[in-house]
Structure formats: structure tokens, C-alpha cells
């Protein structure tokens, strides 16, 4: 078999291509972006459609439409992207899938590049759909292929849950022969029109499918039970990449603990029962929240058994797992370590690039606000969130995609003045248009600052749908008074004029939109490198 070196994200993407993919949709977000980056490059050869979407909800719906048409579809995003897509996601469990529909949700335990570390497995259980959680790159490839087959067979979307360390790690993958794409075959009106009468029947179908999903997980070779007949003291349940940390540390001797390795959900109850019956102490090792541990332990624990894991304090409840944390949970001595003997190493947080247009915009905004005590700057998700740090100290909030506008309006209506929203062009396209529509309708007393650098910079300069002339037409189109739309260029030479104009808009009652337009430095660099072709 041919072997390729791939990121975990790329292994998933290549598997989708080989599984007969017809359509793939996504919105950029770490650690999921490279799934679509790989598919875009692969799609250049023809055979399927791959595209960035305006947000995760639209991406999900585009994939769902492809599945409705009988074709295989992939939708990928970071964990919090699934919150945005949660509405179609939850109901897709009722419509079911036509062509295989695989939902890739990449979690970020440790919050390397995220605002929370929510665990996508809860969403799969919430929707009552299968979830595959690969332990390594080969499994990411094999299980993604299997996810398409499983999805078609049971007529449900299937989630592939990744975590940062697999998504952004490289290793060799053996690939299999590609399968052709499906032919067009439309879904039935009754199943796909979720009027209450139809939805009840579809929900019944989903509930009736559950036992067969558990049986599938119990029979899956990806859920493997290794009981040590010679030792009944310790049994380990390890899921996804957590199993690697266990195998890295587990002794191979006659006293080795029994191990149930899990990658296919819903939980294989029979296998868990067998392990629990065999062992006195059960250690649950999982990346993310204590999902399996809570389920195994229940509210009252297991009589005569001890269940260890995150809830018991044997593993940390937050952050990502490490080989050494799992080593300690297995009761082994830590490896000897060195330290810098009191020499304090300064932290080096990420920061805006030298000469970044956002820096000039923040300098102007800070100065413009100087004459207005009591103001607040609500910000959003992107490179400009780094405006939180010195020397800017320019923003006071960051919650989720698009929150800046809604929060600025709510705060303004609660009495905050000046109330300023700061949002980038792509984030505005993702989730800023609807709150602006609402704010324009009531002429909310706030200033919306849109930082238009023409790209999705933080995640690697993917295309923005709401930049340049289109952005200005959107702002006007949702009802903002054209006299209250300012377009400024964030450059040091314009600083004084920009401060003056911002002050003017802050002082005027009602809604103003100030657009700072200047190309991202990374984007400009990319164009130079590729001779302007990208």
C-alpha cells in the first residue's frame, strides 16, 4: 500500500476523497482548517466540490443538501463551529443522511487557539448519532472512510471527532483504493420536511436505531478489549488519542492492566460491562471532558469498584492530556526533570505583526476614546483579539463569532456610552450582518468598527466573503445611513485624521459604522511569494 505523511486533518480529508466525496464545506478555525486546505488542493483535479463557506451553519446546510441529493458530503470545523451549526446538526439526526454525511469537529483541549475546550462527543450523544474518535493518523484515515459507509448504511450523519494533537501532528498513513462517487438520488419529502407530524416519525426512527448503533460499536474492531487473565486489579478504558498515552506508559509484564480501547461511539456497553466485571479498579483516560467516566460511574458509582479518572482527581479536569499526566495516573514514577534553577523565563504570548493595520486602527481608537470616560470596546474573534494585550489594551470583551455587535447594542441600551464594537471583515460576514441589521433598524447608539484586511488572517489567510466593495454594499444594504458610514485607511500618516473622524462618529447619537481598510501583511507576503497568483 502507498504510504503518505499527513497531518491528522489531511488524513481525514484524503479519506473523504477516497471515499467518493462529492461536496465538502467548511469555515476556517484552528485546529480544523487544514482539512479544507487539503481538499481545496485536491479538488483542483476535479471530481468533487470543495469550498469555504460563510459560516459553519451554512457549511453544514450545504453539506446536508449534498447528502439529500444522495452524494457523499463532508463538513468540517473547529469545536465551537459546531455551536454555530448546532441547529441544522441536531435536526439532521431526524432527517437522516442520504449520501454519507460526515461531520468533522476538531476539539481544542488546552485552548491553544480557542475560547473554550468543549467536548464534541456530547453533541454526538445529544443528537444520538454515531461518533468516531481516531487514536492516530491511520485510524483517522480508516475511520473516516468507514464513517461514510456507516452513515449511508444507518441513514444518519456520523461525527468524526478530532483533537488538536492529532489534527496538527504528522505521521505516515497507508491509503486504500478510491471508491467512485454516488449517483444522484433525492431524499423523500416526508423524511426531509420536519413538520411536527413528519418529525415525530423521524424521531421515532432515530430512537429505534439506537440499539443497532450500540451493537455496531460492540462489534467494531476499533473498540478492542484486552483482558489480562492473570491480573484483576486494574482495568483501563482509554478513548481516542488518550489510548496512546496509556500505551506509551503501560507495562507489558504479567501484571499489565487490562485495557479497553475505544474509538467508536455510542459506548459499547457489553465491552465496558466485561471490563468492569473483570477488574476491581477502573481508570478512565479520555481527552476532553470526563464523558465516559461520568457514564461509567453514574451518579452513585459502581458497588465494590473504584472508578478513577478526571472526576476523581487522578487526571486533570482541564487542559489536554500529556504522557506524564497519564504516567502518574498509572501510578508510575515521573521521569527525572531539569529546571532553570530560579531563572525566570518571560512568557511570549502571540502578538500582532510589526506594522499590522489592526495596530494603527487600535491606536486611533484608543486616542479617540480618551475624551469619553466610561466607554467600552466589545470585540470579536480574529487576530485583532490580540489588541487585548499591551501596548494596545484596546478591547474589553471577546466571546464568540459576531458577539461584538450584539453586546455593544445591549450595553448601549443598558446605558454604556460610548459603546463600540470591533470586528474583522470575515467575522462580520460570518455572524455580524444579522446584529447590524437589528442595530440599524433601531438606530442603536453605538459605533461599529470593521477592520477590513481582506482575509481570514489568524487561521492562515483564507478568503473573506465580506470585504472591500461588497462589505460596504452589505452595510448600506442592511439599512445603515450612508452618511454614517466612514471608510478610513489605518496608516501612521493618517493617524490624526482617523482619530478626529472616529471622535466625530462617537459623539454623534445613533449608529455609525467605521470601516478601516488595509490589506493584511501576511496576505501581501503570500502574494509576493506566489507571484500574485493566489
Amino acid at each position: 500500500m502507498p504510504r503518505e505523511i499527513l497531518l491528522g486533518d489531511e488524513a481525514v480529508a484524503l479519506a473523504a476523497v477516497h471515499a467518493g466525496l462529492s461536496g465538502a464545506y467548511s469555515y476556517p478555525g484552528t485546529p480544523a482548517s487544514e482539512v479544507m486546505e487539503f481538499l481545496l488542493a485536491a479538488a483542483a483535479g476535479g471530481g468533487f466540490r470543495a469550498a469555504w463557506s460563510v459560516n459553519e451553519k451554512t457549511a453544514f446546510e450545504e453539506a446536508l443538501g449534498c447528502s439529500f441529493a444522495g452524494k457523499r458530503a463532508l463538513v468540517s470545523f473547529k469545536h465551537v463551529g459546531l455551536n454555530v451549526a448546532a441547529d441544522p446538526f441536531m435536526s439532521s439526526a431526524l432527517t437522516g443522511a442520504g449520501g454519507g454525511l460526515v461531520v468533522v469537529s476538531a476539539d481544542d483541549p488546552g485552548m491553544h487557539s480557542s475560547q473554550n475546550e468543549q467536548d464534541s462527543r456530547f453533541y454526538a450523544r445529544f443528537a444520538q448519532i454515531p461518533c468516531f474518535e481516531p487514536a492516530d493518523h491511520q485510524a483517522a484515515y480508516d475511520l473516516t472512510r468507514e464513517a461514510f459507509d456507516h452513515s449511508e448504511k444507518v441513514g444518519l450523519p456520523v461525527m468524526v471527532r478530532l483533537v488538536t494533537r492529532l489534527a496538527h501532528s504528522r505521521a505516515g498513513v497507508e491509503i486504500q483504493a478510491a471508491r467512485p462517487a454516488n449517483t444522484l438520488r433525492l431524499g423523500s419529502r416526508r423524511a426531509w420536511t420536519l413538520l411536527p407530524s413528519n418529525a415525530r416519525a423521524q424521531f421515532r426512527r432515530l430512537l429505534d436505531l439506537q440499539p443497532s448503533l450500540v451493537r455496531y460499536a460492540e462489534a467494531s474492531p476499533w473498540n478492542s478489549l484486552d483482558l489480562n487473565p492473570a491480573d484483576r486489579s486494574l482495568g483501563i478504558i482509554a478513548s481516542g488519542i488518550a489510548a496512546n498515552y496509556v500505551r506509551e506508559n503501560r507495562s507489558a509484564g504479567p501484571d499489565r492492566p487490562s485495557l479497553l480501547q475505544l474509538s467508536v461511539y455510542p459506548l459499547p456497553e457489553a465491552l465496558i460491562r466485561e471490563l468492569v466485571a473483570h477488574c476491581r479498579t477502573i481508570l478512565v483516560v479520555e481527552e476532553g471532558y470526563p464523558f465516559i467516566e461520568r457514564e461509567v460511574k453514574g451518579m452513585f458509582g459502581l458497588p465494590g469498584k473504584t472508578v478513577l479518572g478526571k472526576l476523581s482527581g487522578h487526571l486533570p479536569l482541564m487542559g489536554e492530556l500529556t504522557p506524564e499526566a497519564v504516567r502518574a495516573a498509572l501510578g508510575q514514577e515521573p521521569l527525572p526533570r531539569r529546571d532553570t534553577a530560579g531563572l525566570k523565563l518571560a512568557a511570549r504570548p502571540p502578538q500582532l505583526c510589526l506594522g499590522c493595520p489592526h495596530g494603527d486602527a487600535f491606536k486611533a481608537l484608543n486616542e479617540a476614546l480618551e475624551g469619553f470616560p466610561g466607554g467600552n470596546v466589545f470585540s470579536d474573534i480574529g487576530c485583532y483579539t490580540l489588541g487585548y494585550f499591551a501596548p494596545y489594551d484596546a478591547i474589553d470583551t471577546c466571546v464568540c463569532m459576531g458577539a461584538s455587535l450584539g453586546m455593544a447594542r445591549g450595553a448601549a441600551e443598558a446605558g454604556v456610552f460610548p459603546s463600540v464594537a470591533v470586528i474583522g471583515d470575515s467575522t462580520f460576514g460570518h455572524s455580524g450582518i444579522t446584529p447590524l441589521l437589528g442595530a440599524a433598524a433601531v438606530d442603536a447608539n453605538m459605533v461599529v468598527v470593521i477592520l477590513d484586511n481582506g482575509t481570514v488572517a489568524m487561521t492562515g489567510t483564507q478568503p473573506s466573503f465580506a470585504a472591500g466593495g461588497r462589505l460596504l454594499r452589505i452595510i448600506e444594504g442592511v439599512g445603515v445611513d450612508p452618511a454614517r458610514i466612514r471608510v478610513l485607511t489605518p496608516l501612521p500618516k493618517n493617524h490624526r485624521e482617523n482619530v478626529r473622524l472616529l471622535r466625530e462618529e462617537i459623539a454623534r447619537p445613533g449608529l455609525s459604522v467605521v470601516v478601516f481598510v488595509r490589506e493584511c501583511l501576511e496576505e501581501a507576503k503570500k502574494k509576493t511569494k506566489t507571484g500574485g497568483l493566489s
Partner: protein
């Protein structure tokens, strides 16, 4: 003497210094030798001028964890001295550091440089390389990462020819002068140890 069949390497630097490029060069050479490779990378927010690191594991046997355990790294390669020292708790008792002497000063509270370099030199077998001046001598200050790779080639379990071939692969599309400068940077780094 046959080379050992496994090596765990931490690569450290600041976003934009080319950590991932030298990780890829080593990984490529290891694959050529028939070794298994796992390489954990940092993408996203941290790449904006922040501390970045990569865990690179090479082994003839199956590699389980993507991360190197603290206290388990054979080698730390630092394209920046503070960043090299940041991962000291990953270094095994017999491990060593190969680091650039050139600080990247994009933070207000950078510690005393001599103290940093002193700590690195205290680790037996460790090497501090004048990566910036060597890179300039090779023709481009941007090649500090390749200087460090060249210096590290003395201690890596993959062979020099394989590494050079991968350096070539990284830069041959950027034009002849860029390629020549990086190959020179590799040789100057190797010569500095």
C-alpha cells in the same frame, strides 16, 4: 557504530522563525532511513510572533504518543535561546541543547541574555551557535533555522546527506540564490560544532 533507532526532539522558536521547516527536513530524512515519524506542530494563534514548539519523534519501533514526555527528550533545537530554555523540563538527563545565541526581542521583559546562555551551556554537551552571524555570512539572515539544523546534524540519528537533500527540497522553488544561501547556512552550522 550503528546509529540508535530512536530519538525524541523538541524544536523551539518564535512564530515565523521556520521551526516547522527544519522539523520537516529532519522528518523527511528519517522516513528515508525507514524510521517511523510523529511530528506534533503548533498552528493558529501562537504562530503570530508567540512561542512555538514542535515535538518530533523518530523511531524504528511504533510511536504511540504524539507528545514527548517531560524528561524524555534527547535533543532540544532552539532557533532562539529563551525558547530553547523554555522546554528544559522536557530534556532527558543525558539530553543536550543546540541553540542560537541570537535573542528575538519582541517582548518587554526579556531576561538577561547571558544568564539564558549560561543555563544552556551548563547542560553537558550543549552548544550555543552564532546562528545570526553565520546566516548572514551564508547570504541571508532568514536562514538561522538552517544554521541550527546544520549544527544539530552532528547529533541527529539521520544522516547529513538526507538532511541536505531535504533542505534542497525546501528551497529549490525559491530560486538559486536562496537555495545556495540555505545550503551554505547548513554547512556553516555543521562546521560550528
Amino acid at each position: 557504530m550503528s546509529a540508535p533507532a530512536r530519538q525524541d526532539i523538541i524544536l523551539a522558536g518564535v512564530g515565523g522563525q521556520g521551526i516547522l521547516s527544519i522539523a520537516a527536513a529532519i522528518a523527511g530524512a528519517a522516513l528515508k532511513r525507514g524510521l517511523n515519524v510523529k511530528q506534533a506542530e503548533v498552528h493558529g494563534m501562537a504562530q503570530r510572533g508567540g512561542a512555538v514548539q514542535s515535538h518530533l519523534r523518530l523511531s524504528a519501533d511504533r510511536i504511540w504518543s504524539d507528545l514527548i514526555p517531560r524528561g524524555g527528550a534527547d535533543l532540544i533545537l532552539g532557533v532562539e535561546p529563551l525558547e530553547a530554555l523554555r522546554y528544559l523540563d522536557y530534556l532527558a538527563p543525558e539530553g543536550r541543547i543546540v541553540a542560537s545565541s541570537k535573542p528575538h526581542l519582541n517582548i518587554p521583559d526579556y531576561p538577561d541574555l547571558e544568564a539564558i546562555l549560561g543555563e544552556i551551556r551548563k547542560i553537558p554537551g550543549s552548544v550555543v551557535v552564532e546562528a545570526e552571524s553565520l546566516a548572514r555570512a551564508a547570504g541571508t539572515a532568514r536562514a538561522q533555522n538552517i544554521v541550527i539544523l546544520g549544527a544539530a546534524s552532528r547529533f541527529l540519528i539521520v544522516d547529513e546527506a538526507g538532511l541536505r537533500e531535504n533542505v534542497r527540497g525546501l528551497f529549490e522553488k525559491r530560486g538559486e540564490s536562496v537555495l545556495a544561501a540555505n545550503l551554505k547556512a547548513f554547512d556553516l552550522g555543521r562546521g560550528a560544532v
